[in-house]
Every structure is written in structure tokens, then in C-alpha cells.
Symmetry: none
């Protein structure tokens, strides 16, 4: 690169975030460093520390972007109920988009030890809740998300095959277990 080239590069910040996403997907958060992301983004090392003073800052931006990009396309097929659709979607994600799902969970779970990520993780959960609100009251939506997370994590963490029928059954119970159209919890 010629000296002075790309002095004003408005897309650089974004390119760094995209590179961080790729690095985390390929090597995990443990493999994310100013160096690895600079190499992946093909920018100078100093550029990454300039735009993101700490790695936590970069992680926050990466999780936020993963959040925004992840729009669950919940569409019920003919003769399919909500439980069936959610169970099918989870299965599709666990197979066709396994890498992406691992990336999302890794970023989300990182909040366990990094308080800076908690607000973004909270926002993530709320967005997923909201995607279910056309179909269920808020408390039920939260319960559905809990089931989906619990089942999905178990599959990812234990190399256990995904049991779609079991998932549909569990989700169905959440949906029909209370009063019809019930409003559990708060």
C-alpha cells in the first residue's frame, strides 16, 4: 500500500467488525486478538486499537452486529403450528447454519464473564422475545426461548443429535400447558 493511502477510510471500522466475526467463527473468542483481526481485515495493527481501544469494545460491537443480522424468519408452513415451526427452525439452524449458531452462542455466552457484554446480551434476548410476540404473550415467549436455548445448547455442547420431535413436544407443552392462550408468570 502506498504511504498515505486510505487515510480516510470510512468503511474501516465496519471491515474490522466483519473480520472479528470471521475470526471468532473460525477460531473462537480465544483466538480473537488485535493482531488476528488486523490480519483478517488486512489493516494495520494500530488501526484496530485505534477504532477499538480494548478487545471488549470490539466484542460488544461484534455481538451487537450479530444480533442485528440475526432476524429469525419465523414463517409457519401449511398445517404447521408454532411449536412445530420453532422446532423445525432450530433443527435447520443446528445443521445448515451450525457455524453461525456456534458463533452467536459463543458471543452470547461470553457475557457470563464479561459484564460489558451483558447489556448487549440482554438486548439480544429481548429481540428474540419480540420476534415471538405476534404468536405468544411475553412470558410464554420467554419460556419458549428458554426451551430453545436449553435444547440447542445441549446439542452443541454434548455432540448429541437433535431430537426435533422432543423439542416440538416440549415447546407445545409450553404453549398449551396453561389456560388456553394463557398468560403465565408476571
Amino acid at each position: 500500500m502506498a504511504p498515505g493511502a486510505r487515510r480516510h477510510d470510512p468503511g474501516r471500522r465496519q471491515r474490522i467488525i466483519d473480520a472479528a466475526t470471521r475470526v471468532v467463527e473460525a477460531r473462537g473468542i480465544a483466538g480473537l486478538s488485535h493482531r488476528s483481526v488486523a490480519a483478517e481485515a488486512d489493516v494495520p495493527l494500530g488501526s484496530t486499537t485505534y477504532h477499538f481501544a480494548t478487545l471488549d469494545e470490539l466484542l460488544v460491537a461484534t455481538l451487537r452486529q450479530a444480533n442485528e443480522a440475526h432476524v429469525p424468519r419465523l414463517v409457519l408452513r401449511d398445517g404447521e403450528d408454532l411449536a412445530g415451526a420453532l422446532a423445525r427452525l432450530l433443527g435447520e439452524r443446528l445443521t445448515a447454519e451450525r457455524g453461525r449458531v456456534e458463533l452467536e452462542y459463543e458471543l452470547y455466552l461470553a457475557a457470563l464473564r464479561r459484564p460489558a457484554l451483558r447489556p448487549v446480551a440482554a438486548r439480544w434476548c429481548e429481540d428474540v422475545d419480540r420476534a415471538l410476540e405476534p404468536y405468544a404473550d411475553p412470558a410464554t415467549a420467554r419460556a419458549l426461548v428458554a426451551v430453545l436455548d436449553g435444547i440447542g445448547l445441549r446439542v452443541l455442547l454434548t455432540d448429541t443429535p437433535y431430537d426435533e420431535a422432543g423439542a416440538r413436544e416440549a415447546l407445545g407443552r409450553i404453549l398449551t400447558g396453561g389456560r388456553p392462550g394463557g398468560r403465565p408468570g408476571s
Copy 2:
């Protein structure tokens, strides 16, 4: 330590595992290194690599021990149903034993990126399933665990207060949603 002291120390391996547990609880897996665990256990650095050639080996042993130590004391109180007891227990763990729960989840979740941990994580899940089997059929037990994990993680990851009533309601739906004593899923 005087040279030559403690050359024969049969409890050393165990002491290293205990030290690793304390290190992970205090500083997270990211803070676990051969050095940090050697200092915490007050053993020479070489001793940690002798007993655990890689950090993964040490993590496996630590997770395994956490698993064995964690005997959920599921006791139903007077007038309490299973859902209520589980919701209460989860709440107790999320407050009184928060550090311990974070430790357990961190070790368990680490399996996402460390295949070596997967068998131990699977064993963990099965043990928890088994603890519930006196009260529910296997598929229901798995669904209950999924709900507990999903809700617990959300509390830990988002700094959200624990909603015990909501948890009890969701667990209750899993338990009563199907036929009585139903056998969902496979």
C-alpha cells in the same frame, strides 16, 4: 520450599484440581493457566504439566469433579409440587451459590469450543436428567433441564432478576402439558 521437599506427594494431583476450580471460579477459564494454577496450589510449575499435559486435560478433570460434587438435593417441601421445588432450587442457586453456578456453567459451556470437554458435558447432562427421573419420565426430565438451563443462563448473562413465579409456571407446563405422566418425544 526447600529443595527436595515434598518429593513424594500423593495428594498433589487432587490439590491441583482443587486449585484449578478456585482459579476458574475467581478469574474464569481465561484466567486459568499452568502458572496460575501452580501458584494457587503452591506446587512447582512443572508439576502441573506433569500431571496434566495440556490445559484441556486439567479442564476435563475439573469439570468432571464439579460434576461429581454437584449433587442436586431435590427435596419437595410440604405442599410443594415438583415445578415449585425446581423453581425454588434454581432461585437458591442463583443467589446463595452464584459463584458456584457461574463456575459450573462456565466449565459446561466451554465444551462449545473444546471437543475434549464434550463427553464430560454429556455426562453432566445425563446425571442431571437422572436426578429428575424419580419424578418424571426421561423426555420430560430433559425438557425440564432445558427450561432450567435456558432460564438460568438468561439470568446470569443479562443481569436480569430471576422470576421464580415465571419459572414455576413454565416448568409446570412442561409437567402437565401432556397426558398425565406423559411420554413426550421419542
Copy 3:
């Protein structure tokens, strides 16, 4: 292995040398350690230090054995002169036995920095000289060996293809350059 098994194991020393040969062939002298050879030979670590107090001792034994095993089968084919046979043999060794040749050269060249290996290296050279003595006087034999070593090393060290015609020509000049059947040098 049952405790106490193989307490008297007369072949163990030999097995360690064989293992060292395989280790050096696969990973180079830099990859040879008491540990690596113990693992390759499937003997306890202490056994290697017991039979060979230092790595140099083990290297000496390994080089000596490589020397003894290496009997150049110099057979002239119909219509082939000595230069042609040597050039052909070198070519065969550089292709079909490349790993073996690299091993031999690595052990031989190690004498540059390890005086303990020098006598064995000298012995090696003399043995090769002797194999040529039916065909050439001692000084000519030494000159032939020098040419073979110089050409062979260049091929090994520079990833250059072997030029068999050039080698035959050079060897031929050594053989016919002086008086017929000449006795150069000392």
C-alpha cells in the same frame, strides 16, 4: 503393562536405537529427545536415560548402526562403467530412499558440532572408501566419495533436480583424469 513385566528385556537397548532412528528420520535430530524416543520405542522414560545417559551417546549408537546397516550394493550392470554405476546408485538413493539418505546425512553432518560423533563419522567415511577399493586406489576412492557427497548434498539442500549425466561425467573425470589407473595424491 503389568507391573514388573519385561524386567529382563535384553532387546530393549536395540529397540531404543531403532526408535531413535525412526524419530530422526521423521522429525530430525532436533526432534530427538529422551521423551520422544521413549514414546516411539514404547518403553518408560527412565529406560532411555538408563541405557543412554546422554543424547550424544544415543546419537553415537544410532549413527553407528546406520553405518553398519548401510552396505552400498555396488554392482556394475552390463556395459556400465564405474562412473555410470555410481551415478545411477546415487540417483536411486536420492529418489527411492530419500528419507533414508536424509537420515544418514543428518547423522553424519551432526558431527560438525558434536565431537563425540566424529570418530563414528570417520568410520563411516572409511567404510564407504573401502567399498570402492575393489575398483579404485584409495585416493581416487576418496575423491569419488567427495564428488558423490558434494553432488548429493547439493540436491538435498537446494531442492535441485539430480543431474545424473553430470554426475557420471564428473565421476568419470576423477577416474580417467590422471594416468590410466592412476594413483593421485598420497
Copy 4:
């Protein structure tokens, strides 16, 4: 060194190479480490890994520099033929410059196990060839170099005294063995 001292030090890279040369000459490649070269060059440890990310990189630079520094001063004395001059030069180098010659050979021979060094080793050979081309055709030059290397190595590796007369005879045969000014090989 005072903190902050010598933050800008343009000659540092070169000083590290020089230090590596001294370390290899004194202790061999096996004695070359980031630490040993940092100490010899009186620079911080991190500085060596900054300028040479791997030891191979440092070795390449060191061999390249040794190559450039080594300009064989081939000058024929009165009444001396090429074979005599080469034999004399080899003898001089094997006595007066023994350490230097060992250094050069060790770097050159290291290419056997370090592919990264091969291109530089090849360059080395070509440069030596070229130095002989005023006096001999290319194939003859290569043959002369092979003889010199073969003889030189044998002296270095076996603690055998150098036989200058034998060397002159062998070199002479290479030079006069073919047609006058012959073009052996390809």
C-alpha cells in the same frame, strides 16, 4: 537500559542478524534462540520476535548475509593453476578461518531439515558457481564445487587433516579429464 531509551533504533534489525551470526559461530544453531540472540545483541527479547517472527526467518537472514559477505577472493598466483589455487584456498579457509567455515557450513547444511532455508542455500551455491565461471564452464564449476564441499566436509566432520595435494589432484582431474575446456553434463 533506561525505560524508553532507544525507542527508535534503525540499525536494530542488522544488529540482531550480526548477533545471530556470532551466536551460531560460537554455539551452533542449536544454541540460537530468541533469548540468546537478544542477549548477544543487547536488545529486549520482544525486539527479536518483532523483527523476525520465527527463528527460521532469522536463520534465513543470517544465511543470506553470510552468503553476501563471503566473496571468495580467487586469485591465481604466479605459476599456480586453478586446481592449485582452489586447493590452497580451501586449505587456508580450513585453518585460518575454521570458525567462519564451520559457521557457513552449519547454516548451509541446516537447509536439509528446514525448507525455508533451501532457496537461500540454492542462491549460495549459484553464487559460488558464478565465482568460478571465469575459469570453467558451468558444469565443470559445479563439479569443482562438489569436490570442494565433499573434501571440506570430510575434514570438518572427521577431524582428519586436510590433504592439499590430494585435493589439487582431484580438482585437476575435474578440470582436465574431459576435452580441453570441455562441457560435461547437460
